[in-house]
Symmetry: C2
Subunit: 207 residues, 2 copies
DNA sequence: CTTATTTTGTATCGAATGGTATGCAAGTCA
DNA sequence: TGACTTGCATACCATTCGATACAAAATAAG
C-alpha cells in the first residue's frame, strides 16, 4: 500500500484502473479478443474510448494487460493452493474443486479460464499472446511438478514416478475443464473429471 | 460416388465445394472465427464473396459446415484408430501419436485441433457452436470409454476401473495437446504428454 | 439459333470497426 | 485569483466489415 502519495497535478480520474481492467477482461472473457469491440469494452468499463486509450493503450495492449493479470493470478493461486503440507490427494482435490467452481462462473454463461478461452485462438497468429500463454502453461506445469516431487520425497508417490509427465497430465485436466465449461458442461461433470485424474495420480485406493 | 449424374442446367461451377470448404476451414483454423474476414476466406478459397454465399450461405453457416466436418472427421478417425483388437496401450499410443502429429501441422504454425482452437472461444456466446463442440467432446469421451470397457472385459484393466472418468481424462489430454500446439509447444512435449497419460491409464509396468 | 438457368465478376451498400482531434471540466500550484 | 496540468466527452475520420444488386458469361434445353 502506497500511503501519503502527493495528489497528482491535474484533474483526478473518475475511475479505478484496476477495476476497469477487470471489467474489460470480463468482456473479453465472454466473446474473445477479436469479437469484443471497443464499444463493448467501453460499455463494460463505463469509460469512453479516449479514456480507454489513455489508461491502457490500444485494444491489443489492453488485452495483453488482462492476459498478463490472469497469468499472474493463476500462478499465484496455484502456488498458494499447493503450499500446505498435506497429502497430495488433498491438495490436488482442492485445486480441481476450486477450478471447477471458478470455471462455471460467468454473467453470460460458464466461461472457463481466461487464458484457455481467449488466448488459445489468437496464439497461432500473435507471438506476444502465444508467449504469455506458453509461459502460463509452463508455470502451471512447474507448480504441479514441484508438488508431485514433494509427494515423492515424503513417500506418497513411488520414487520411480515420472513427475514431469504426470504434471503435464494434471495441467491437461485443468485446461480441459476450462474447455468443458465453455462447451456447456455441468459442474458435476467437471468435478468428476478432476476426481478421475486425482485417482489416476494418487491411486484409487488412497481414498 | 454418384455416377452418370445428369449435368445440371446452368453454368457449371469452376471449383470443388469440398475443396473450397477445406480451404475456408484452413483460414478459420489459423485466426479463429471472428478474426477471419470474408476477404480472407475469399483469398483462401479463390472464390469471390458472392460465390461463397451461393455455395455455403453466410459466414456463420460456412463456419458451422467446417466445424461439423471437423467433428465428423475426428469421431470417425478415433473410431477407426480404436477398432483393432490389440492391447489398450497400443491403441492409446497410436491415437496420441497421431494427434500430436496432426496438431503440429499448419501453414502459419502449429494450430492444434480445429474444434479446440476455434470453437471454444465462440462457444460461450453462440449456442449452435457450443452444441457442436459439446457433441464432439461427448463423442470423443464415448469412443475412449468404449475402448476402455473392452480392455476391462479382456482383462487388460481391473473391473473396478472408473471407465467414464478415465475416458474423460483421456479426452482431456487430447484437448490439452491441441492447446499446447497452438501455444507453441514442440512435438516432443506433446508426445511426452500422451505417453504420460498412457502410463497412468495402462500402468507404467505394462511397457 | 433462341431461351432458360445457373455461376461468376464488378461494383457497391450501409453499418461497424479501431483510432483520434478538439474543446470543456476539474483539479493543483503560485 | 489566474495560470497550468490532466482527464473527460463529443464528434469525427478513414478503413474494413459482412452482405448484395446487377450484368456478363457459360452451359443445357428446345
Amino acid at each position: 500500500m502506497v500511503q501519503n502519495q502527493p495528489r497528482p497535478r491535474g484533474r483526478p480520474r473518475s475511475y479505478d484502473p484496476a477495476v476497469a481492467l477487470d471489467q474489460a477482461r470480463a468482456a473479453f472473457w465472454n466473446t474473445g479478443y477479436a469479437a469484443t469491440s471497443l464499444d463493448d469494452l467501453s460499455a463494460a468499463t463505463g469509460l469512453n474510448r479516449p479514456s480507454l486509450y489513455g489508461a491502457f493503450g490500444d485494444k491489443k495492449a489492453l488485452y495483453l494487460k488482462a492476459l498478463e493479470k490472469s497469468r499472474a493470478e493463476t500462478t499465484a493461486a496455484l502456488a498458494a493452493a499447493m503450499a500446505p503440507d498435506e497429502h497430495l490427494r488433498a491438495a490436488l482435490t482442492r485445486v480441481y474443486e476450486a477450478a471447477a467452481g471458478l470455471y462455471m462462473r460467468g454473467d453470460l454463461g460458464p466461461r472457463g479460464c481466461f487464458l484457455i478461452g481467449t488466448a488459445v485462438t489468437e496464439a497461432v497468429d500473435d507471438p506476444e499472446i502465444r508467449a504469455v500463454l506458453a509461459a502460463a502453461l509452463s508455470e502451471i506445469d512447474a507448480a504441479f511438478e514441484a508438488r508431485i516431487r514433494r509427494a515423492m520425497e515424503v513417500g506418497n508417490l513411488p520414487l520411480s514416478t515420472d513427475a514431469a509427465g504426470m504434471a503435464k497430465v494434471a495441467t491437461a485436466v485443468m485446461n480441459a475443464m476450462a474447455v468443458r465449461a465453455r462447451a456447456g458442461g455441468d459442474l458435476a461433470s467437471l468435478r468428476a473429471m478432476g476426481a478421475a485424474v486425482v485417482d489416476l495420480i494418487c491411486g484409487r485406493a488412497g481414498r
